[in-house]
């Protein structure tokens, strides 16, 4: 029977949320001044042909190479100089190069996020800034979350709270660190019985909460026209079960991973107008997750609205 009857996978569900565009994200250390609006269009593509089942790495001939693409419009607005609002609505498409399971596409989750500048002071030859961010996302279409790894997202509400600190030298280099707690609700499957490490007699699945930590080294160059960054991101779920041997993943799984990322943003003008974004990301370790790597491209336009 070889591998033809086994389908499994890997779950990238959380990826859609985590790879939220880079132009100005809930996680970065930038603020838009009052009345400025930035519109961004971001495209991300990640692929994997191996995945972690628990901590065991697997190859699956019924998946082949898995591809997840995401196009995301995003709007960032400066309500005041110290409070920004970020809206995002990703469109996701998934597919596998082999096997019997077909990919899906559609609108994923609507994200609303408020970022506040809390601390700003000059220290030495640089400036220390501290931000807090509160985000909420909710499924924006009626997609099936219990169809991993193809599902568009994990199909549950998520409330995120973040602390971000940044120290930037006047010459351009900066260091940034952030820590987030992501609280997820329950999602609804299309089966009324499922098994994790015990049986559940309900269609509701508890999506594990997670902690997300990120450290970033970056620098401004060419008179603040170019920004480059390298970052390390780690996600740890606070609960959840492992994918069972050669079985499909499900939204209850404990998803952990570490990711390295390179990022560059180029502004054609120093105040407003068009900008371009390019990024590369790669998973270096994980649990119940595809060993993904991929790139992102984006275009941003910033203008004074009021």
């Amino acid at each position: 029977m070889k591998n033809h009857f086994r389908f499994l996978g890997l779950l990238c569900a959380s990826l859609g949320i985590i790879t939220i565009a880079h132009a100005q994200t809930p996680l970065d250390g930038l603020m838009m001044p009052k009345g400025e609006i930035c519109i961004a269009l971001q495209y991300d593509q990640v692929t994997w042909d191996r995945y972690w089942e628990g901590s065991t790495i697997r190859v699956n001939q019924n998946i082949g190479t898995f591809t997840r693409q995401m196009g995301m419009p995003m709007i960032v607005g400066g309500i005041t100089d110290k409070i920004n609002v970020i809206l995002s609505l990703p469109y996701v498409k998934t597919e596998a190069s082999a096997g019997q399971l077909t990919g899906v596409q559609g609108i994923q989750d609507l994200g609303i996020s408020v970022k506040a500048l809390l601390v700003e002071k000059s220290i030495g030859k640089g400036k220390l800034t501290g931000f807090s961010n509160l985000s909420f996302s909710t499924p924006a279409s009626n997609y099936l979350s219990d169809y991993m790894p193809f599902s568009l997202g994990f199909g549950a509400n998520e409330l995120g709270i973040r602390a971000i600190g940044k120290y930037e030298l006047d010459k351009g280099p900066y260091f940034r660190a952030s820590y987030s707690y992501l609280h997820r609700g329950v999602t609804e499957a299309e089966r009324d019985f499922y098994y994790t490490d015990q049986a559940y007699y309900t269609a509701k699945m508890d999506v594990p909460n997670a902690f997300l930590g990120q450290v970033t080294l970056g620098s401004w160059m060419f008179k603040k026209k170019l920004r480059v960054e390298a970052s390390l991101t780690t996600i740890k779920s606070t609960s959840g079960d492992d994918i069972r041997v050669y079985s499909m993943p499900q939204p209850t799984n404990k998803v952990d991973f570490d990711r390295v990322e390179g990022f560059a943003q180029y502004y054609f003008k120093t105040n407003g107008g068009f900008g371009l974004i390019a990024s590369y990301q790669k998973a270096i370790s994980g649990r119940n997750m595809g060993q993904f790597s991929g790139y992102g491209l984006g275009i941003t336009y910033q203008f004074k609205a009021f």
């Binding site: 086994r6 709270i161 329950v186 049986a199 559940y200 007699y201 309900t202 050669y246």
Partner: protein, 235 residues
Amino acid sequence: MKKYSYSILLLVIFAFLGSSCVEDLPTKYEFTGYQFSNLDANAGQWKLVLHTSNEQIPLSTPAASGSAELLKELADVKEMQSKATSAQREAVAYWTNNPLVRWNEIALELATKYNLIPAPNPDGSYPVPDPANPSNYPKFPYSHPPYTSRMLAHLSVAQYDGLIMAWHYKYKFKRQAPYQLDSQIKSAYENNGLFSYPSDGAVIATASRDVLTAMFPLEKEFLAQKARSIWNRLL
């Protein structure tokens, strides 16, 4: 103004955390007891599947009515009922007056738990579970659908034959239930006047435990503990 808006944000967070943390997802099938419309008094004569005679499993005669032995047993029952722990009361509600439902639930859960295809060897061949060494990988059994069907068939006929024999002895010995012999004893379930020796719940528990232990040898302890917890409901 700013402080004020932050406290609103905090309130929203706590409201959200509070509301979505408390949801308990059910880990067992929702099922409550019911009243049997008929005691099937002649069920002891029904056709057996595995056995040839309804006395093939011998049973000793119970202590006579009014004997010191029986009075002692009744006193023990009263004492146990008065000292019932909350765990024992939960077990009464869990098993209901039809523990067949729970044993089938346990069987299906184990079938799900063991429905894991063995991972291929590096050379592409597939290992086979070994019933003699069930804990070696791949664990025994691989409870694929044919295995599960066989397991459920074994379980059902064991329960069926066991109940036929139990009914035969119940109507042979005609031992009244403890709550009929002593008005201070309360039945945990609806009084139905069924003779109480042997206990149908104990027969179901023993037959189910033994069949499931044979089919899922690694679950021996779990099944024994389940069977022990059913003793609590029998009174």
